[in-house]
Each structure stands twice: as structure tokens, then as C-alpha cells.
Amino acid sequence: MYLLEVRELTKHFGGIRALDQVSFKVREGSITSIIGPNGAGKTTLFNCLTGLTKPTGGMILLSDAGIGGMAPHAIVSLGVARTFQNIRLFRDMTVLENVLVSQHQRMRSGLFKIVSKHKDFLAEEENARCRGLEYLGLVGLECSADIPSFNLPYGDQRRLEIARALATEPALLLLDEPTAGMNPQESGEIMEIIRKLQALGKTVILIEHDMKVVMGISETIVVLDHGVKIAEGTPEMIKSDPLVIEAYLGRGIFA
């Protein structure tokens, strides 16, 4: 059963082909990695999937329904959430408030219930707080709930990004370089979190440069180079794929 299907996705920025007819499928409950050299179009792919940029052509199907070109918030409501390579936390909000924001769509209270402190509103807030703390617990941040998020150490900010995306209750979670700038121990902890997400039934796609992480947890790897998909397969297949080696290391003169 496939959760996401990308068909001939194309994105041009002027004359530059950031993505050129990229197609792949993602099985429900799986972990897929997208790898490729710098400028391969990985983040552009994520931006297309989450609605931040409109694709030039091709289709994005989420459970067989097209989501290409929809607004970001509409895509979130269909169950796709993401983290960012350059952290985009709400800096002046506390850690808990950050995960409250992403529960926005599930909260229903209108202006009048809020102003009158209607019991539905209070119950909803209480519920959101409890859930928020659960999500924070999942990434090990429940004790920092009260701290302004800009005061978190770097690694914890990355964890908070994951918790925040998780709080939108997505079926598909897109992680853009979740272990960037982390030491091996921290990367290991992030891998544990990703496995936990899988155990919760989430489908995960991650962009990653750390090959230890990529080879360790992915079931499928998609390799992009200059906007073109050059390989797709299991970690073993990718490791020995000549095209991939060429993309990363270049072609030998006598090859």
C-alpha cells in the first residue's frame, strides 16, 4: 500500500531545472531517505511536497489524491508535516507553545467561546497542553516545556522541530536533515526517535547526509543528482550503484 506517489515531478526556476521528472513511491509505514550531493534538489522536493513552492509539472498523490500546488496549511490538514534544515522554531515562544501552535488545526474554539472562557475552550486548551507534553516526552523535552525555545541547545532545537511537526498528527513526516551538525551520539538518539515514529505508524521521508543514519534506518533510498533521480533501492543496492558513486565521487578518467 503506497501512501505517497510522486509522478514526473518537475520544478524549474527560470532556466534551472531543480527537479526533472522525478518519480518514486513511498510505502505506508516505511522510512525512505532522499540523498544526493549539494544542490541536487532534495529540499526543493520537500518544498513541493509541502506546498511551499508550486511544482512546474507532474503529480503528487497522497493516498491517491492529488496535492500538488495546494497551499501549505491545506497540505498539513491532509496529514503531511515537515521539519526544516535551517531551524524555523517560533523563537520567542516557549517550548510547549511551539507544539501548541501546530495543534491549531485540530482546535475548534471560535472567538466567542475564547472570550467567554467557555468550558469547551478550556477543555480543548487543557487537552492540547497534555498532548503537547506527550509529544515533547516522545523526543525527551518534557522537562524543558517552560523554557523559551531560543534558549534550547542546538540539538534540542532539532528535537523540538520534530515534536512540533509531530503535533500536527501527520501520517507522513518529512525530516530535512534532522541530524545536521550533531555528534555521533546525538545522531544515534535522533535515529532512535525516528524508529519510534515508525513504531507509531508514521511514514517518514528524510533528507540526510550522514550515511550511517541513512544506511542504518532506511528501507528505501532515493538518490537525486542535479534534479534527476539517478537511483532508487535498498541501502545495499545503493551502496554498489555505479551511478551513485559517480555522482558523489566523480568519474574516473580511465573509467
Binding site: 509541502t50 511551499l52 497551499a71 501549505p72 496549511h73 498539513v76 490538514s77 508535516a81 515537515r82 526544516f84 524555523r88 522554531l89 517560533f90 523563537r91 520567542d92 515562544m93 510547549l96 507553545e97 501548541l100 501552535v101 501546530s102 495543534q103 491549531h104 488545526q105 482546535m107 474554539s109 472567538l111 475564547i114 472570550v115 472562557k117 475552550f121 486548551e125 487543557e126 497542553r129 507534553l133 525527551g140 523535552l141 518534557e142 522537562c143 524543558s144 516545556a145 517552560d146 523554557i147 523559551p148 531560543f150 534558549n151 534550547l152 541547545p153 534540542d156 512540533r164 511537526a165 500536527t168
Partner: protein, 400 residues
């Protein structure tokens, strides 16, 4: 383990003792310096003795403020584990019932304590508090720089004036109509303006403010042009005229309290969080499921609603409106109140508006020099407390 880490990174609320005492000494020195500076500014105008008195008063109030802040901090620090405090919900209600009711009693007693002149200043403060709280929603919460806020103030005031003078509607009948029209005007401006961002948005709002003022100034047959509209009625409640200052004070107080309650409740709801998320990171907010366009629109309309309320109160108090009251400088003044008090902080914005209404009155003695003193004061505050006088919030570079 996690707790240790958060202390090391210096979370505001988990300061270690030696750290905060150093902090206190720093703020004390700083406030003494500010007091000294302001007193020296005062010297040429008032002579030695008043300057000395000003110095003593200023340094005393500022040092006590510093200590109060330290006290509040230790109180927060005593709350135990973060997670417990959140569960008990006390974090969201820092002021107790006792302080609140005391404050309310004092506010209710004001007309019996103050002379008419001071009562007039109090009413004016009230109107500006409503305006500043409204603008704070747009600029402070949502981070949209609005330089034409006075336009909505004008729309509210003129709508009430016209409904009252031309159609003979009373205050309470005209109120919902005027508020609806002001909110609508907020929407109308927001729809084209919100395609723009940052500086461009500021310029468009500035233009809107000027357009409204020019229309009021030139549409002689409707608005009376520069002569304005005289003879606006005061509100009547239960057959009582609210014309006297002390009665009108209560009308204003009611409106201020309503504004405060509604704005602070909305602030701590999903709507307020959506606004702040947009301010902090628009792309992040939209990727967390917030329709940024819609919530910016709400923010504009919600902010203009309060400007409309302030406008109606202003028209009913002055019983006369003219375009002169709605110049660009007025927008700047309201923006100063918001920034002075602390962008986004409700309590701070209230204090900021009171300070900026009361200070010029206090400085009236030094006549034309008062604007110099006021300007110098504002510059000092921006240097020493860029996050605003009363806000605990750290301002990120964007507003710094």
C-alpha cells in the same frame, strides 16, 4: 539531565542566584544612570531643585522596579518543576485575585480622588490604552508594521459622529454599526495590503492613513471638511447622561477593561498563538497548518475593531471631530506607546500608553522643550531597554 542543560543555557526563569544578583546590580546602575541623564536634561528648564527632586523620584521608582522584578523572578523560580507548573495552570495566571480586585477598586475610586483636569487625562489615557492594545495585536502579536492605524480611529470617530448628527442615532445604537464599519474597513485595507511584507506593507498602510485623512478633509458636504463635525451627543445610559467627566470616566473604564480582557484572552488562545507564530516565522507557521493570509486578515480586522471603539469614545467625549485629530503623528504616537511598553506585552503596552499620555502633561511646565525631553527619554529607553520598559520578552533583531 535535561534540567541541568537548560540552566546552563541560561533560561530566563532558571537563573542561578549569583547570576541574577549580578543582573540586578547591572540594572540598578543602569537605572541610576538614566535618572541622572533625564535630570540633567531637566536642569536648564527648571533649575537645580526640581531637577534634584526629579532625580530622587526617578531613581527611587526605577530601583524599586528593579527589585520588584527580581522578586517576581524568585517567585516564578520557586514554582518547582516546569511540568508541574504547567499542569497546575498557574503559569498562565500570574496576578492573583486579590491584586486584581484591589486594582479594580482603585480604578473605580479614581473619580472621587482626582481633580477634573486629572480625570480628563485619565480618560484620555483610557482611549489611548484601547488604541495601543489594538495596534499591539497587529504590530506586537502578528508583526505587521501598520503606520496608518489612526485611519481606523478616524473611521470609528467619524462614523459615530455622522450617525449621531445626521441620523440622530444615540451612542448605544450607533456603537455596533460604527464598530462593524471600522472592522470592515480593516478588512478592506488588509486584502490588498497583505500581499506585501515588511517595509512595503508599512508604506501602504501609511498611504491608507493619509487617504482617509484627506477624504475627511475634503469631502465638505459629508464631513464638514477641516471644520469638522460639532455637536455630537454624549452617551445616555438608563436615562442618565454620561456627560460629566466622572460618569464618562466609567464608560471609558468599562471599555478599557473589555479591551484588556478580550485581547488577553484571545492572546492565549489558538488565535493569538497563530498570530505570534506568524510573527516569529511565517513559513514555519504555514507549515504547521496555519493559514497565514487568513490570520493576518483577522489580525488587521481585530486590531481595527479596537481603534473603532477608541474613535467612538473620543468623538463622544470631545463632542467634536475634525481631521486634525487624525494626523500621521497620531499613528506614530500610538506606535511609540506600543514599542515603549514592549511589543507584544499587554501589561507593558498599557503602561506605555499611560506614560506617553501623562508625561507630556507633567512636562507641560517646560512648554516647547517637553518634546525634547520626551524624545530623549524615548531614545534612552530604546538604547537601554530595546524590548520595552515593562516587557520581559527578548526582542529578536528584527525589531531591535
Amino acid at each position: 539531565m535535561k534540567n541541568e542543560e537548560s540552566k546552563v543555557t541560561g533560561g530566563n526563569r532558571t537563573h542561578k542566584d549569583e547570576n541574577s544578583s549580578l543582573d540586578t546590580r547591572h540594572s540598578l546602575l543602569r537605572s541610576l544612570f538614566i535618572a541622572l541623564w533625564l535630570s540633567i536634561l531637566f536642569l536648564p528648564f527648571k533649575g537645580l531643585l526640581p531637577s534634584l527632586i526629579l532625580f530622587v523620584v526617578l531613581s527611587l521608582t526605577m530601583t524599586s522596579l528593579v527589585f520588584l522584578r527580581g522578586y517576581a523572578r524568585t517567585l516564578i523560580g520557586k514554582g518547582g518543576l516546569a511540568i508541574e507548573r504547567i499542569r497546575s495552570k498557574k503559569v498562565f495566571r500570574p496576578s492573583s485575585l486579590v491584586t486584581r480586585s484591589l486594582l479594580l477598586i482603585i480604578l473605580l475610586a479614581v473619580p472621587f480622588l482626582l481633580r477634573d483636569y486629572l480625570l480628563d487625562v485619565a480618560i484620555l489615557s483610557g482611549i489611548y490604552i484601547i488604541l495601543a492594545l489594538g495596534l499591539n495585536v497587529v504590530v506586537g502579536f502578528t508583526g505587521l508594521l501598520n503606520l496608518g492605524f489612526v485611519a481606523f480611529y478616524a473611521v470609528g470617530a467619524y462614523t459615530y459622529a455622522l450617525l449621531n448628527v445626521k441620523l440622530g442615532l444615540g451612542f448605544w445604537e450607533a456603537l455596533p454599526l460604527s464598530l462593524a464599519l471600522t472592522t470592515l474597513s480593516g478588512f478592506i485595507l488588509a486584502i490588498p495590503a497583505l500581499r506585501l511584507r515588511g517595509d512595503y506593507l508599512a508604506i501602504v498602510t501609511l498611504g491608507f492613513g493619509e487617504i482617509v485623512r484627506l477624504i475627511l478633509n475634503n469631502w465638505d458636504s459629508l464631513t464638514g471638511g477641516p471644520n469638522g463635525i460639532p455637536g455630537i451627543a454624549s452617551p445616555h445610559t438608563f436615562g442618565l447622561s454620561m456627560e460629566t467627566l466622572s460618569r464618562y470616566y466609567y464608560v471609558t473604564l468599562g471599555a478599557v477593561l473589555l479591551t484588556y480582557v478580550v485581547v488577553s484572552r484571545v492572546r492565549s488562545s489558538r488565535i493569538g498563538r497563530a498570530w505570534i507564530a506568524i510573527r516569529e516565522d511565517e513559513i514555519g507557521a504555514s507549515s504547521m497548518g496555519i493559514s497565514t493570509m487568513r490570520y493576518k486578515l483577522y489580525s488587521f480586522a481585530f486590531g481595527s475593531f479596537w481603534a473603532g471603539l477608541a474613535g467612538i469614545l473620543f468623538a463622544a467625549k470631545m463632542r467634536f471631530v475634525s481631521p486634525e485629530s487624525f494626523t500621521f503623528m497620531e499613528s506614530v504616537l500610538i506606535l511609540c506607546m506600543v514599542i515603549l511598553g514592549g511589543l507584544g506585552s499587554i501589561g507593558g503596552v498599557i503602561m506605555g500608553s499611560v506614560v506617553l499620555v501623562v508625561l507630556p502633561e507633567v512636562l507641560r511646565e517646560v512648554q516647547s522643550y517637553r518634546m525634547i525631553a520626551l524624545g530623549a527619554g524615548l531614545i534612552l529607553i530604546m538604547i537601554f531597554r530595546p524590548q520595552g520598559l515593562f516587557s520581559g520578552r527578548k526582542i529578536s533583531k528584527r525589531f531591535g
